[in-house]
Amino acid sequence: MNIEYSLTVGLSAMEGRGFYYPSDTAIGRDGRFYVVNRSLESVDRGVRVTMCDIQSEYYGIFGSYGEADGQFVWASCAALDSAGRVYITDERLGRVSVFDPDGAFARKWGTKGNGTGELDGPSGIAIDADDAVYVSDTYNNRVQKFTDGGDHLLTFGQGDLDLPWGVTVAPSGDVYVADWGNDRIARFSPTGQLVGAYGKPGRGDGQLTRPASVAVDEDGWMYVADWGNERVQVLDPDGGFVMKTRGEATLSKWAENFLRINVEEADARSRANLEPKIDLFDPDDPHEESSHVEKLFWSPMSVKLDDEGRLYVTESNRHRIQIFQKTA
């Protein structure tokens, strides 16, 4: 099993076409991306969902900053149901907002709190084949399962999870959780029993530091956004190390367009060494290295797989998605 880099989609932009601190991407069956933009917190610009596709075709945005219906404060993660509706969590408002495939607001649900069915800092979200919705209830250190209308079905993970983030339902039906504070991937049965835990804290092969997201393919291979290590790792179904990548972004179509128009910047860029060899202030800190070398992952918060075996890695600090292809 391997993954090979294909291309990059994205551009730093606070409005319209582009992304600003994207935290997650949901991939529709028609190939449409729904990219959740957390943006800055200090201004009300930039918070939105960008719709585009792998060809960098731009379809518009929806959502904005605020607390009204269809708005977000701390937009976090996204998932799609069988009808293509988009479910987006908001860590600040403690709710899930639902939009139709074109971005029209449909409904919202979720109540802030720590009781059964209540949410405190909902982040990761996944939807199974029956349209049941799983939400990482981050500060309650658990995952909760709801109907698509927000009725509570199941709670699990208490005592096992520490500030969980990304969650996914594997083709097998098991639920995999990026157990962020425990530096591991936790695997639960459909009824909420902990049936596996993969990874140990660290920076070595197969080790994890604050994982943000996990995707699982039909054979049980795991693709992990190893966020604190600024990399993606592939693990076998038993958690064994397979491969890792620090990223190799190239210019997206939108980036090329920007540089075509801004000739002076393009010229200066062409004379710059974008992969400098430097003495890092903290040699063991990949966050530091990623801040200096543009092609590397910087804050990879989300990994998603599509039906074509493509892996989408959303990088918050670089405002882009690096896309890889699974190869045998």
Partner: protein, 468 residues
């Protein structure tokens, strides 16, 4: 433990930290004053909320593209650290080596400079100056990337001598030129592209790219120079060596240290014409500078254990900077037990009080002391303190109220409840007239949690609470 002990510890914590809760003061007092000083200087297990938590929830504190993320992140550190002197010394150097966003246009580089102060700020002053000269934000802030062999730019060389080490009157214009020659070729990598991006505030295509120091031997003037009466083929490090040997440097840094940690001095531009408030103290600190081989921690050890620091007549002789004031209150209220969006609001309120971290008014930094206070900023400060310490939803406030109420709260005499409020807010001492007003308010007799919170609000509005 005696009242004297706790009051002295409280004084130390206001100066070497951001104040302390009553519980912390008691714990430090039990260890003893000298042991507390050592723990502040060499914390055995320095911790704060941590970058992972801050970055997970505040994405701009990770990418740091704009003017706020770096300061917000630093405020978290001030609030949650168990090693407060590290943050205080960092704040100290930020005030002297003041570097600001409007020209750098890169929050991460400003944050990296602060990180450098945190790492080297208590060590050798020589090392700190060398690191400062290599600091990418400083190189852009004072144009050293434009300081070339045969075409010097004097900005960094001038400020290195005037503001960063020796002070006005200790060198000549020729020294500035020779100093600048020695720092030619000290630049950042990809200077053309990076400074163009800054000029345009460009974060395209993929966000900011961190800068790194780059020494360009081909652009360095390796010729002979004459600097402060010495002659040689000096480079930047040689210049720093000579600067560090100067009596004027020792006195200048000693006076800054006294100004920040002991008692407010007049603004720095007045120093050449105004003697120090306590010349003997400054001489003592200058001697510690030389005795220790320019070691800042050694200077502070002498300072904190000296009689001039412990003296009653320097207590409350410093107006807290907005950063000290806000961080101190937020440590008391315990609001930030986890990342919360409110951190931005708190940091903005600091700006309304006159201090935007990583965005000083000029290369001279902020003027300290009474200049922090005008009618506008004072109202901001009192409103902030009153609002925060009177909010019973905050865990720290709840604790303080509970501690007061558990001392037989319903039966408390007005004098007793005033004393307890002063204790809970960090063993604050107030004037007789302020005490009289507080007692008068306490005589109204409301001993409910809301009533006690109202007493805390009024106590936090006193003049002494504005001071350290």
């Amino acid at each position: 433990m005696s009242d004297h002990d706790t009051k002295l510890i409280a004084h130390l914590m206001r100066r070497a930290g951001f104040g302390a809760t009553r519980g912390e003061i008691e714990a430090y007092a039990a260890k003893g004053y000298d042991a507390t000083v050592e723990e502040l200087l060499d914390p055995p297990d320095a911790r704060w909320m941590g970058d992972y938590l801050a970055r997970r929830f505040h994405h701009e504190q990770s990418g740091m593209m704009g003017p706020w993320g770096s300061g917000d992140n630093w405020l978290y550190r001030m609030i949650t650290t168990n090693a407060p002197l590290h943050e205080k010394i960092t704040l100290f150097w930020h005030g002297i080596f003041a570097t600001g966003y409007p020209k750098v246009i890169h929050g991460k580089m400003l944050s990296d400079q602060i990180r450098m102060f945190r790492r080297y700020g208590l060590g050798s002053f020589r090392t700190l100056l060398v690191e400062l000269a290599k600091d990418p934000a400083m190189i852009v802030w004072l144009d050293n990337y434009d300081n070339h062999k045969g075409a010097i730019n004097e900005n960094f060389g001038r400020e290195l001598l005037e503001l960063f080490s020796m002070g006005v009157g200790s060198y000549s214009e020729d020294d500035i030129k020779e100093c600048s020659r020695a720092f030619t070729g000290w630049t950042i990598g990809n200077a053309e592209y990076m400074t163009l991006r800054s000029e345009r505030d460009s974060d395209w295509p993929y966000g900011r790219i961190s800068w790194h120091f780059d020494y360009r031997a081909d652009d360095h003037d390796g010729g002979e120079k004459e600097f402060l009466g010495r002659r040689g083929r000096f480079d930047g490090e040689d210049i720093v060596d000579i600067i560090c040997e100067q009596e004027s440097t020792a006195r200048f840094i000693a006076r800054h240290v006294y100004h920040f940690f002991v008692a407010d001095e007049p603004p720095v531009p007045a120093w050449p014409y105004t003697p120090p408030r306590d010349p003997a103290a400054v001489e003592t600190l200058a001697q510690a500078y030389f005795d220790s081989g320019y070691n800042v921690k050694a200077m502070l050890r002498v300072l904190f254990t000296s009689d001039f620091f412990k003296a009653e007549n320097v207590r409350y002789e410093k107006v807290k900077s907005p950063a000290e004031f806000v961080a101190g209150i937020l440590r008391l209220t315990g609001e930030f037990d986890r990342p919360r969006r409110e951190i931005m609001d708190r940091a903005r309120q600091m700006v309304y009080m006159g201090q935007h971290l990583n965005n000083p008014p000029s290369v001279e930094g902020w003027r300290q002391g009474a200049e922090w206070l005008d009618t506008g900023t004072l109202v901001e400060r009192i409103n902030f303190a009153s609002e925060q310490v009177g909010d019973l939803n905050k865990p720290g406030v709840k604790n303080m109220v509970q501690n007061i109420a558990s001392s037989n709260g319903s039966q408390l005499s007005p004098e007793r409840i005033v004393n307890l409020c002063l204790e809970q807010l960090g063993e604050v001492s107030v004037s007789d007239s302020a005490r009289g007003i507080l007692v008068e308010f306490a005589e109204r007799g409301d001993r409910s949690p809301e009533g006690i919170a109202a007493m805390l609000r009024l106590t936090a509005s006193t003049d002494e609470f504005q001071r350290a």
